[in-house]
Every structure is written in C-alpha cells, then in structure tokens.
C-alpha cells in the first residue's frame, strides 16, 4: 500500500518538475498573482535579460496597495503611487497579462480577488509577491508569498526553486465559543506558537471548529499563517469550497468542473500520515482576543490585562516586550477594556470580505460610533464586495452609524496610500500586523476581529462582546 500522505505532500508531489540529489526541487506554479509594489523590478529584470512571461494566462495582475480609497475617477494624486500603478498597467500590457485597473469593479485586494474570480482553485500551487498569499490555502491550495526575484523567476519559468517544508498540524477541536471568530482562533494559535512557531513548516488546519467555518473564516485563518511564521497554511477542500467556487468567472465549467471536483475530493490528509509537529487548540473555551504589543504573538483575552514583561526569563525577549509596551503607551496590569481608542479600521485581506461586513453591520445597525473617536473607517476588500454590501444596504447602516465607507484596497492595513494613523493614535484594526509604524508613523495598532472592532467603535474602547 502507498505511504499515507498529508494534503501538503499530495499537492507537492503533483507539482514536482525536477528533484536534485540534494533535495533542491523545481516546483510547478499553476497560478501567479501580481500587484504593483513587488513586481516592477521583476518585469524590468525580464526586459533586461530579454525574457518573456512563460504563461501570461496563468498570471493575473491587480492594483491594491497604493490606490486611494477616496474617489479615484480623476486618477491618483500622489506621484510615486501613480507611477507604480502606471508601471503595472504598462507591464501587464507589454507582457500580455490580464490586469484589473483601479476603476474596474473587479479590482480589490489581490487575496480577495483571486478566490472571488475562481482564479484560486483547490490543489493548485499559487504564489504572489505578497506574504498574505497564504490566504488561498483555505481552498486546499499550496499558496505562499515570494520575493521579487522569485516573482521574476515564476514569470520567466512558471516554476519556483524550493525545498520541501515540514508538515505541521493545527487541530482546532470542539465547537467555537459564542462571540469568538476565525480571527480569535488564529490570533490564539499565534499567541501559542509564537511568530516563529511555524518557521520551515506548512500548517494544515483541521478539526471540527475549522470545518464549521465559512470559506471567509477559513481565509482569515490561512491568511495569518504567515504571522505564525509558516511558509503556507492550508485546509482540505470540501463542499463549502465547491459551493464558493461554483460559477465563478475563472472556475472550470461543465464537464471540466465535474472532472476537477473528482480530483479535489482526493485532496485530504490520509489516515496515518506523518506530521512533524501537532498543536491542539480547544475552540470551545476561546475568548475574544486583542493584541497588546507590536507583534501578532502579543495577544490576550479581552477580559485580561497587559502582561508584565519582567515575567519573561530571556533578556532579549524581555527587553523587546518592554520596548513594545513603551511604543504602545501601555503599562503592565492595565485592563484591556480600559484602553481608549482613537480610530477604528475595518478591512484588509484578513477581514475585508462580505461576511466580515455583515457581522459588523449586525452590531452597529441603528447605533452611533463613540464621540471620542477621531474616525471609524470601513474599506471593502474588493469592488465586488462593495457592490454586494451596497446591494444589501450595509453601506447605509455604516454611514448612519458614522463610519466612512470607502473604495476597495489595502488601505490602512499598511498605509501605502493616504489612509494612515497619526503619531500616537490608537487603532482597533481588523488587519493582520501590529508592527511598529505599520499603520502610520508611531501609530498604535490593536488586532481584533470585525465583531470586536464594531463593538469597540460603539464604545470608544474595547468591550467584552460576550457580555453584550
């Protein structure tokens, strides 16, 4: 009998082009997503060496990082951003790659667009010059971020030089506690394993709580695998994945769909397959989570308080956590629910999908955001998410509550466009990174779920949503 294999093993085996004696492999790449920030130097490299894009039809380009979220019908005011966007448009045209420009309603964050278009499919290998490419693993794809040199490599060869990663299983057992979300699951996992906990591994997320999640929730989980240091995160595809993809513009149709589904059904970890590491998490006892520091591993229950770095034995780590508290303007022992906020930001490739917006609308419907906030902003993940939300009247609920309702893009998740925190401003954010300066110079980020961000918007501080 064949050796039992993990989901990662199966996809790896099905994409192996060449393996050298030392284990260096050439892996075939089925799908390549391209955005404006990490691609200009790659296309320039192709030009300089006289190379072409091997498979333009396996490549999809979209602008997301630089685009303003205000009206962009008159173009992009900021010169450097405009040049980067125009450069992508030109490169896509010159090399024959399909491109969604900033006024196309299909435009959005690359990791929202891929699944939405059915470009993301189970069992495929997917790369993008963007670390959050791990998102696509929610469909049972092997998906990960690459650097610009590798973008050029994939454009030229449709392959990537790789060594096989280790297999890691995160088993999330039980039924997810009320008021806890996919975001709380992944933040808890990162808190548990640390931001280097998954280094060198591909994580498969499994267990009842994962199976119970919608595709949106699964994307939130896989999206932040990178924050746990993993090369990729993945979840075995099931009927929910099929239902999500059926009828999408780039998904297979008719007979091809049936054939594809038959293959997708084989994409699960075999009984008895080997994992190098297994981590278990009980979903039933999960509280809503808030981050307190400047690393996604710095997390605590909303009912908890800021920890004391002096409790850490390692000197380097202790000093780093004191530095984080200093940056965040917090003191050990401070209760999370006592922390007052200045800004609420809802969006990103982690939590900018329709389900996220529906969850926010449910909480803020008929209410007003707190008076102490400078502003609260909602940025849909794509033009199609925006269109759907408006069809459901969610935009009216948000605007009536006092939220700004913006055009799609990465926005303040990383602030490459004008949406940025001011120094000292404290933000409850549904994004994925609370790094120093991430959302704006000296800005302070607390990572939370959309539901926690919505409740925080109404109260002007963090609230334990289990009690409301």
């Amino acid at each position: 009998m064949a050796k039992p294999r993990t989901l990662y093993d199966k996809i790896w085996d099905d994409h192996l082009v060449h393996e050298a004696e030392d284990g260096t492999c050439l892996l075939y790449i089925d799908r390549h997503l391209v955005h404006e920030v990490t691609s200009p130097q790659a296309f320039e490299g192709l030009r300089l060496s006289g190379r072409t894009v091997r498979h333009p039809e396996r490549t999809l380009a979209v602008v997301d990082h630089n685009v303003p979220t205000t009206d962009r019908s008159h173009g992009i005011a900021e010169e450097e951003s405009r040049i980067q966007v125009e450069t992508l448009a030109k490169n896509a045209k010159d090399f024959g790659v399909e491109y969604f420009h900033e006024r196309d309603k299909r435009q959005g964050i690359v990791h929202v667009v891929g699944p939405e278009q059915g470009f993301t499919l189970p069992g495929t290998t997917i790369v993008c010059g963007d670390s959050h490419t791990s998102t696509h693993g929610a469909f049972g794809a092997l998906a990960h971020g690459i650097g610009t040199s590798e973008v050029e490599h994939v454009l030229a060869t449709q392959t990537l030089i790789q060594k096989k990663a280790k297999n890691m299983l995160v088993d999330v057992t039980g039924k997810l506690a009320r008021s806890a979300t996919a975001k709380d699951i992944i933040l808890s996992i990162i808190g548990e394993i640390g931001t280097a906990g998954g280094t060198g591994s591909v994580i498969e997320f499994a267990g009842e709580a994962i199976r119970d999640l919608s595709m949106e929730g699964r994307m939130t989980i896989c999206n932040m695998s990178i924050e746990g240091g993993a090369r990729a995160g993945m979840i075995a595809p099931d009927q929910k994945a099929n239902d999500y993809l059926h009828g999408r513009p780039k998904a297979p149709k008719g007979e091809a769909w049936d054939k594809a589904r038959a293959y997708w059904n084989s994409l699960h970890t075999d009984e008895g397959a080997h994992f190098d590491r297994i981590v278990k998490l009980d979903a039933a006892s999960l509280p809503p989570i808030v981050s307190w520091g400047t690393s996604p591993e710095d997390v605590v229950s909303v009912a908890g308080s800021v920890p004391n770095p002096d409790d850490i034995a390692d000197e380097g780590k202790r000093q780093s956590k004191w530095r984080a508290l200093d940056y965040m303007g917090l003191k050990p022992g401070q209760k999370m629910t006592d922390i007052e906020l200045d800004v609420i930001w809802i969006g990103s490739c982690t939590n900018g999908r329709i389900e996220d917006l529906r969850n926010v609308a449910r909480i803020v419907d008929g209410k007003k955001i707190a008076g102490n906030l400078a502003y609260a902003m909602i940025v849909p993940g794509s033009g199609l998410v925006k269109e759907q939300a408006e069809a459901e009247g969610l935009d009216k609920i948000f605007k009536a509550a006092g939220f700004e309702w913006r055009e799609p893009g990465c926005s303040m998740c990383l602030g490459m466009n004008p949406d940025q925190l001011k120094p000292g401003q404290r933000c409850a954010s549904t994004s994925n990174r609370n790094f120093e300066g991430r959302q704006g110079y000296r800005g302070r980020t607390h990572l939370v779920s959309p539901q926690m961000a919505a409740a925080a918007a109404l109260a002007g501080r963090f609230v334990d949503i289990r009690k409301s």
């Binding site: 450097e80 010059g129 670390s131």
Partner: protein, 201 residues
C-alpha cells in the same frame, strides 16, 4: 549577483527579537520601481526622527558602525512582509551578512537572491557574537563561507550550516533563472502531463 566568499567587516549588534520587514524598510519606501537607493532609508523609524534627523543612539548612527557589513540580531529576523526591499536596503547600506538564531522564510530566501548570507546560530553563540559586536571599532568578524565558519576578534570560531545548493549559488554569484531555464525540457514534459491529467487548469 555579486559573489560571496569571505567577508571581513564590522559587525553591528541589534539585540531585538522579531525585527520585521516594516522596521527594516517602512512602507513609504516601497513605492520605488528600482532595486537601488534604499540604504539611506534602512531601519528608518529607528534611525531618524520624523523630520529626518539622525538619532545618535541607534547603532548604525554610531561612528564605529556606520560602515558595518554584518548585522547580529535577535530571534526571528525579517518576519512579516515578503518585500525584497528589505534585503535591497541592507545591501545598499553595505550589509552582506546577517546573523540570528532564526529567520522568517521569505526574507531568508530573498537574501540569497541578492548575495546576502543569512547565518543561523544557536542562542549561546548569538550571545557570544553579540558581545563581540558590542566592541565598537574592534567589532570585526570574519565570515568564511567556503569553510562555513565565523571567526571572532579573539580567535574564537563558530561553525554554521548552509544548504549546499544555496552555498554553491552564493560562491559563484549564480542567477537561478538561468539555472532553471536549463531544465526547460522537464518543464515542458510536466506541462504536457498536467494538461492531460488536469485539463481545467
């Protein structure tokens, strides 16, 4: 890509864990469409005030470390975004080698594409190398890639592991797109096989 064989240079200590790529090169510098010119913006927020004045306490602003070629840093260096601007900024500043107990995957890969050698050492050896790097103008280390060892100012040596293929590429300054294109016939064969087995792709 420039070859990497033996490097003798000043090592700067940066004993912070989880130094992320946003710290190495903040977002406002990602709008470039070039690979060069990022060195002056390396570690921008730690290195300068908001109006662009140097912060004298930051290690790379100190006289002894202004020409550092080696960085000795805390655990999990280079975590976060995939931006290759991080190694480009290090390289443009003049840094050819980073030593830590661990590196984030994508950053680690990106280093090798740019002739930078990332070296993983044990926590004990990191402590020793941080002490060496703390010696100001005497903080000189020799990185010997062929022998896979780091030699300190007191003659102590630390051995390190490196993947043989990556070592070969660094020593010879090889462009791996060229190497992969040599396997074109394997790629063609794979595509034929896949087209038959998975025609929907």
């Amino acid at each position: 890509m420039e070859k990497f064989e033996t490097l003798n240079g000043v090592a700067a200590p940066l004993n912070i864990v989880n130094i992320d790529t946003d710290m190495i090169i903040p977002k406002q510098f990602l709008k470039t469409i070039k690979r060069t010119g990022l060195g002056k913006s390396l570690f921008y927020e730690m290195r300068y005030t908001q109006d662009g004045k140097e912060l004298p306490e930051f290690v790379l602003n100190k006289a002894a470390y202004r020409k550092a070629q080696i960085l000795v840093a805390g655990d999990n260096f280079g975590c976060g975004s995939s931006r290759e601007h991080a190694p480009w900024a290090l390289l443009d500043f003049g840094i050819r080698c980073v030593i830590s107990t661990s590196f984030a995957d994508i950053f680690y890969n990106n280093c090798f594409k740019n002739g930078i050698l990332p070296i993983v050492v044990s926590p004990e050896n990191l402590k020793k190398l941080l002490d060496d790097a703390d010696r100001g103008s005497n903080a000189t280390l020799t990185i010997d890639l062929p022998k896979q060892e780091i030699r300190g100012p007191d003659g102590g040596t630390v051995k390190f592991d490196i993947d043989p293929f990556r070592k070969h590429c660094l020593l010879n300054g090889l462009d791996d797109i060229g190497l992969s294109l040599e396997k074109s016939s394997s790629i063609d064969a794979f595509e034929k096989k896949q087209a038959a087995a998975q025609p929907w792709l």
